[in-house]
Symmetry: C2
Subunit: 235 residues, 2 copies
DNA sequence: AGCTTGAGTGAACAGCGTTAACTGTTAACG
DNA sequence: CGTTAACAGTTAACGCTGTTCACTCAAGCT
């Protein structure tokens, strides 16, 4: 039972590898069930022995890519030692951008899939969603570490408004007990970083900036300053 | 020849209306060529008298939606008179968000289509792209007007770095001759606004903020301050 | 009236995701 | 060791998709 399970796991890995190959070569639309089967020299129904549907195959691929990205970002931090947590955040931001630029097709599959969430209130249990949560927690935990390492100045509650403060305070437990203003700054950092990278990779910055690297660097310096970090300034 | 052309234009409008109906009810995937034909009581090949392909139909729909959004934002500004240009920018930002929240399916079609631009260097001439340019110029022109109306303080070139300054200066003619630092601030405004709205509507802010309205308001106040505008502060 | 143009149809093709019934091979058990 | 059951994989088919071709039929213009 063990040898057969290993064989099965190997086949699953091959399927996902073939799917990824199609993804990088032809984009999201090219990774179809029949195309994957063709890539492996199999007939389409054979894949149903390993995935219950095409969507499940895509979801598994998404989960794998999320985990790969998460691992890449995590060991990108560990190599630098543990001296300056601010530098770790800088590495995380640049690492995320670099990964997206190096793997635009995979990035598009992970973050470009516009999900207007037509069905509300359903806590998605798909492996892709869970992997996305693990990915998000990397940033959350690092921010909480930075806060406890060197608390940064944050806007007072009066500036944010009572409604926002209430929502942010409700999330305080997930941010290591940080106050609302500090969570707000952290969220601002994430929001700007995420939006920036998405816009650059999806080409929505192209019409004004041919190469967004310098702009990204300046923005990173700006939002790093807001967290009281001494990021490397652009030359 | 005139009456027949009008009949044809009316049919084209009906086709796009049916496509939009399918879009709002079933999302991007639901607006297929056969589904549109079914909606109109026609056979699929009949649509090829009006659009050369399914993609062309979608592109025409995109162009129409862009123009509708552009018109909505423009007459949203004109109603308020021309006293405070800062208030106009505030109206524009909120108008864009409101439109996206009111029409999430259309918003996803316009901005959620992740295009990693596999083929570079081709100046797309599709009507959708042209309409997107018209949409973008609404923001660009308003920002230029604000600059000439009440120039805002901007970061000096040394902070931005020579490479970024060079790129921004190259775009100065499209921004009414604004200096690099001012273009940088304007671009920051647009980048943050755009990313913020996309993240909210695509549900990527849901895992931390159940209702992003208050966060959006605070962010809008923050980036408005960066442009020296006296936006309404959150209570 | 005659001819032309154009809207629309029906049949067909290739490709898609998916299901059902069937064939071998392979591991496990009495 | 021989039987059996599980499993990988195939073939055939269904309904769906975008697209093309050949055709009909009615309206418009000369």
């Amino acid at each position: 039972m063990d040898s057969r399970d290993r064989r099965r796991a190997a086949t699953v890995a091959e399927i996902k590898a073939a799917a990824r190959r199609l993804l990088v070569s032809g984009g999201t639309a090219a990774v179809g069930l029949r195309a994957v089967a063709r890539e492996l020299g199999l007939t389409p129904p054979a894949l149903y022995r390993y995935f219950p549907s095409h969507e499940a195959l895509i979801s598994a691929l998404i989960a794998e890519l999320y985990d790969e990205l998460t691992a890449a970002l995590m060991d990108l931090q560990s190599t630098d030692g543990e001296v300056d947590l601010g530098a770790r955040l800088y590495l995380l931001a640049n690492g995320l951008r670099d990964w997206g630029l190096a793997h635009p097709a995979e990035f598009a599959l992970l973050f470009g899939t516009a999900v207007p969430s037509p069905d509300a209130e359903d806590h998605e249990e798909t492996p892709g969603h869970q992997a996305a949560m693990r990915f998000g927690s990397v940033f959350k935990e690092l921010v909480a570490q930075i806060w406890h390492w060197k608390p940064f100045p944050y806007p007072p509650d009066e500036v944010l408004g009572s409604e926002l403060v209430a929502q942010l305070t409700r999330e305080s437990e997930h941010f290591g007990g940080m106050p609302a203003g500090a969570i707000y700054l952290s969220l601002t950092y994430w929001t700007r970083l995420y939006g920036l990278i998405c816009m650059e990779i999806f080409g929505q910055l192209h019409w004004v900036l041919p190469d967004a690297a310098a702009y990204f660097e300046a923005q990173l310096f700006e939002i790093g300053q807001a967290l009281g970090l001494d990021c490397p300034a652009p030359e």
